[in-house]
Subunit: 360 residues, 2 copies
C-alpha cells in the first residue's frame, strides 16, 4: 500500500475582513516593479466598489475580469497565458484568483502554465507538471468547492473534462474571508454548498476512506447539516462555518477521492456545459442506489430551501451524445474505484450509466 | 483587526505503515552524497529493530538518539548544531525527527539553527528567525502534542521556557503513521493525549476563538472524548483517531492560542523539569474556576483510566522558587490574553498564581 503524500496550501489567513490584509500579504512577494500581480476576478464583481476598491494595485498590476458563465477551458487558459506573456516584459510576481471554483481554478492553471511549456491540455491528468508555478493566491467569494485546498484545477479540454493534478497546483496562500460571500444569490449558495455536502458523502462512503479523510469529512458534513437543515445559526455564523466546511470537505476528498456524483456531473458539464455545482445536484438527486442516506438528507435540504432543479435535461439527447457523456464519466477511473471498489468495471457498465443519465 | 497568516506543513502522508515510504520521500531531497540526512530518534527506540531497521540510511546519513527524560534545552540545541557542523563538510540535506513532542521540537530547532547564526536562546520569542531552515521532517511516535503542525519549537532557555515561533518552524513534511504509537506505555499515552484534550479546551474557551480554530477544536475534542471516555473503538481505530485528534487540536491552537493550563505548566517545567504532558494534567486538575466543563470531563477520563497524578509537588518550594515559576507563567502574555481577555492583568495576579501552584 502506498499512501498519498499530500501537498498542503502553504499559508492561510481566516477572518471576516481579512481581505483587507491582501496588500500586506502580497508586498513581500513582489519580485520587482516590472513584475505585476495579476488579479483574476469573477466578472460579477465588475463595478462592485466594496470589493474591487480593496484590491491592492500598484505599478503595472492588473485586474482581469473573467466570465464564469462557462467553466474554464484549456483554450481559455492558453489565451490568458499568451495575453500575459505579450503584455508584460517580465513574468508576474503573482497570480491571484478572487471568485468561485472556476476563478480559483483559472488562477491555479495560469500560474502553472506560465512556467510549463506548451498547451494546458497536455497537462490534464496526474503529475504531468514539471515546474513550480508562479506564486498563486486563492480568495474564495463563495463556499463549497474546496478549490481553495485542492491539488487540482479542473479544465474542459478538447477531449475531456479533467484536472491538472500536481504537487505544484495548491495555492501558496489562501485568504478565507467569509464576509466576501455575503451577497451570493440563494440558488448559487445552495448549489455550491451542496458541492461540499457531496464531497463529504462521496468521501465518507468511499473505499479510499481512512481516519485522515474521515475526520475532515465528518466535521464538514456536520457543518453542512447545521447550515442547510438547522435554524440556529446567524447569517454570519452560517457564512463562517460554510467557508470552513468547504475547507474541511476539500481536505477530506484531497486525501481520499470523490465518487459517482462527480463522475456523472463531469459528463454533464462536458457535453451540456452544465456547471459543476448545479450539475452535482441534478445527478445526486438520482443516486439513492449508491448513497441512500446522503440522498435522503439532500432531498430534505432541497425541500427546506425550496430549490427546484431542472428536470429532463437529457430527454432530447442523441445516442452519440449519451456516448460522449458516458465516455467522459468512465474516464475518471479513480472516482469509480473509490466509489465502488477495485471491481467497479463489473458494476458500472455503459448501459448502467445511460440509464442513470436518462433519469435526469 | 489583523488576522494570523498561518504557515502550514508543506506535505503530509497518513496511514498505518506509511513510515515505510520515508526512503521514497527523502530520496529526491538529497542535495548530494556528502550532505547527510540526520535522524533524531527518541532513545527509547534504541535497539528497537522494528522501527530502526526501517530508517533509510545511505552514504553518511546518521542517527542521533536523543534522551527525552528532560525536555529540550537551548544549550542542547546549540551543542547538537555544533556537532553536526563539526562532523560534516556540508550542511545536511534534511533533519528528521522521530519521536514525541521533544524529539520533533529538537528536529525543528536544529533545522532552524543550522541556517541562523548565534545561540538558539536569542530566537526564543515570535518571528525572530530570519532564514528558512534545512528541509525538516516530523514523524510522531506518540499522539497529542500537536508539535507536528505547530509553528513553534518549545525550548527551555537560561531565562525562560519559550518557543521559537516563526513561519519557518513548521515541518516541510510530516509522516503520520499511527502504527508507530502501538507500544506507547499507558500512562504516557494518557498524559500526551491529555495535551491534545487541553489544547481543545483552551482553544474552544479562549477569546481568540473563531470558526477556523473552532471547527478544528470541536472535531479534536469529539475524538478525544470517544477515545478516552468511550468503549467502541478498536485499539487500531483509537490509535488512528488520536493521531488525527492531535493534528486537528494542533491546528486549532495554531490559529488561536492555548491558555491557563499551558502557562502554569510551563512554570512547572522550567523550575521542576516536569514534562509537559504530565505537567498539563497536574495543572488542569485544579482549573475548575477557568474551565469547569473541561475539568469535569478530564476527571472522568482520569478515573476511567485509573491515572494517579503526583500530589503536593509544590509543597516544599521556597518563596523564591514560587516567584520563578510565576514569572515564567506570567511571561506568556498571549496565553493569558486568550484565556481571560485583554484585561487579564487585573485578574491574574502573582498571589492568584501562587495560590494555584500551592494546590498542586
Amino acid at each position: 500500500m502506498n499512501y498519498k503524500n499530500f501537498p498542503m496550501v502553504s499559508k492561510v489567513v481566516f477572518g471576516r475582513g481579512s481581505f483587507n490584509q491582501l496588500g500586506d500579504i502580497l508586498e513581500p512577494k513582489r519580485l520587482n516593479t516590472e513584475a505585476p500581480f495579476i488579479f483574476f476576478v469573477d466578472d460579477i464583481f465588475k463595478g462592485d466598489a466594496w470589493l474591487c476598491s480593496r484590491i491592492p494595485l500598484s505599478y503595472n498590476d492588473k485586474i482581469i475580469y473573467v466570465s464564469t458563465v462557462e467553466e474554464p477551458k484549456t483554450s481559455q487558459i492558453d489565451a490568458l497565458v499568451e495575453q500575459i506573456v505579450l503584455d508584460f516584459a517580465l513574468k508576474p510576481s503573482g497570480i491571484i484568483g478572487i471568485g468561485g471554483g472556476s476563478t480559483l481554478d483559472i488562477a491555479k492553471a495560469v500560474s502553472l502554465m506560465l512556467t510549463n511549456d506548451g498547451e494546458s491540455s497536455k497537462y490534464q491528468g496526474w503529475d504531468l507538471i514539471k515546474n513550480p508555478g508562479i506564486f498563486h493566491v486563492g480568495i474564495p467569494t463563495i463556499s463549497g468547492t474546496g478549490a481553495e485546498v485542492s491539488r487540482t484545477t479542473i479544465l474542459t479540454g478538447p477531449k475531456l473534462k479533467l484536472g491538472i493534478n500536481s504537487d505544484f497546483t495548491p495555492f501558496d496562500q489562501v485568504v478565507l474571508d467569509p464576509e466576501l460571500t455575503k451577497n451570493v444569490p440563494k440558488d448559487q449558495w445552495f448549489y455550491t454548498g451542496m458541492d461540499c455536502f457531496v464531497h463529504c458523502i462521496e468521501s465518507l462512503n468511499g473505499t479510499y476512506l481512512n481516519a485522515f479523510s474521515r475526520t475532515y469529512g465528518e466535521k464538514a458534513l456536520e457543518l453542512c447539516e447545521a447550515i442547510f437543515l438547522g435554524d440556529e445559526l446567524t447569517e454570519e455564523e452560517a457564512q463562517d462555518q460554510l467557508m470552513m466546511a468547504s475547507w474541511h470537505g476539500g481536505m477530506s476528498i484531497a486525501y481520499s477521492q470523490v465518487g459517482v456524483a462527480h463522475a456523472l456531473s463531469y459528463g454533464l458539464g462536458f457535453l451540456l456545459g452544465i456547471k459543476h455545482g448545479i450539475g452535482n445536484c441534478i445527478v445526486f438527486d438520482h443516486l439513492e442506489e449508491f448513497y441512500p442516506e446522503g440522498v435522503k438528507t439532500f432531498k430534505a435540504m432541497k425541500a427546506k430551501h425550496r430549490i427546484n432543479l431542472p428536470q429532463g435535461i437529457c430527454s432530447q439527447l442523441s445516442n452519440e451524445e449519451f456516448d460522449t457523456m458516458i465516455t467522459v464519466a468512465l474516464s475518471l477511473e479513480p472516482l469509480w474505484e473509490n466509489a465502488i471498489g477495485a471491481n467497479w468495471k463489473s458494476v458500472i457498465t455503459r448501459d448502467k450509466l445511460r440509464a442513470l443519465y436518462q433519469k435526469m
